[in-house]
Amino acid sequence: MLITKRVEFSASHACRNPLLSDRENQELFGPAANPHGHGHNYAIEVTVEGEPDAVTGMVIDLKKLKDVINHQVVELYDHRFLNYEVPPFDRVVPTPENIAVDIWNRLQPQLAGAGSRLHAVRVYETADLYVDYFGEPA
């Protein structure tokens, strides 16, 4: 069974690879490369897979899931300039692809419980663009 929790945060970012010149970044990312940054209302959906516990009837305590997401992600990302304030985005471009991978890496160890595991992270950069990450095949 899959259980999904959705949370929102707002952050600014600039799509710039620090290893590239201004011109190369401009060519690669267009207006998103503006060094002053721009922002989004991000939404993330965290999906956990498991079977309901025989006693509690729950795959995972949704309150615990919310606390983990808030502590590991929202408190770090919300109202921050990702490139300057949230590693690894000082060296990794904060595209929604890389944000999904980073959120997975932060949550996966916390959610490796006895009866459940992280299944997917979905990052909405806007309502019309989102990225799913399912981890790398073992």
């Binding site: 595209t95 990450y133 399912f134």
Partner: protein, 145 residues
């Protein structure tokens, strides 16, 4: 490997009417959707592609390239058109959203390599909502369509 999904909208009219059926059979099969004057929908389509994240750009897919492909292959031909009267594919087959999904999938697959010539990203699936309550999906994984 990530999967990137982008959403687009278009509005079209259609009439569900199979030429191989009689008028009364069509009315029985399709009901009010067989109205000879046609009717319309606000279609919403989600197109998903998957591939590795390119370390230089941090991206699996350049959304501008997908926008261009979808604009040429889907939005320009279909938006504010009558599917039965104006789209060659629907001269002989009924423009149900099943068949519309197949036609869009075929167009994207046929033209994919001209927009994305490398090994990645690949088309993963498309999902079309005819209304917020009727949704159709075709996955590229099992060689469907």
């Amino acid at each position: 490997m990530t999967r990137v999904t982008r959403k687009y909208r278009f509005s079209s009219s259609h009439r569900l009417h199979a030429t191989s059926l009689s008028d009364s059979e069509n009315r029985e099969m399709y009901g009010k959707c067989d109205n000879p004057y046609g009717h319309g929908h606000n279609y919403e389509i989600e197109i998903s592609a998957r591939g590795p994240v390119d370390p230089r750009s941090g991206r699996t897919l350049d959304p501008a390239l997908l926008d261009r492909l979808v604009e040429e292959q889907v939005l320009q031909p279909f938006d504010h058109r009558n599917l039965n009267a104006e789209i060659a594919a629907f001269q002989d087959i009924v423009p149900t959203t099943e068949n519309l999904a197949r036609e869009i999938f075929r167009r994207l697959k046929t033209n994919w390599k001209s927009s994305f010539p490398g090994a990645w990203p690949v088309l993963d699936k498309i999902r079309i909502a005819e209304t917020p309550r009727n949704i159709f999906e075709i996955s590229n994984r099992n060689g469907e369509a």
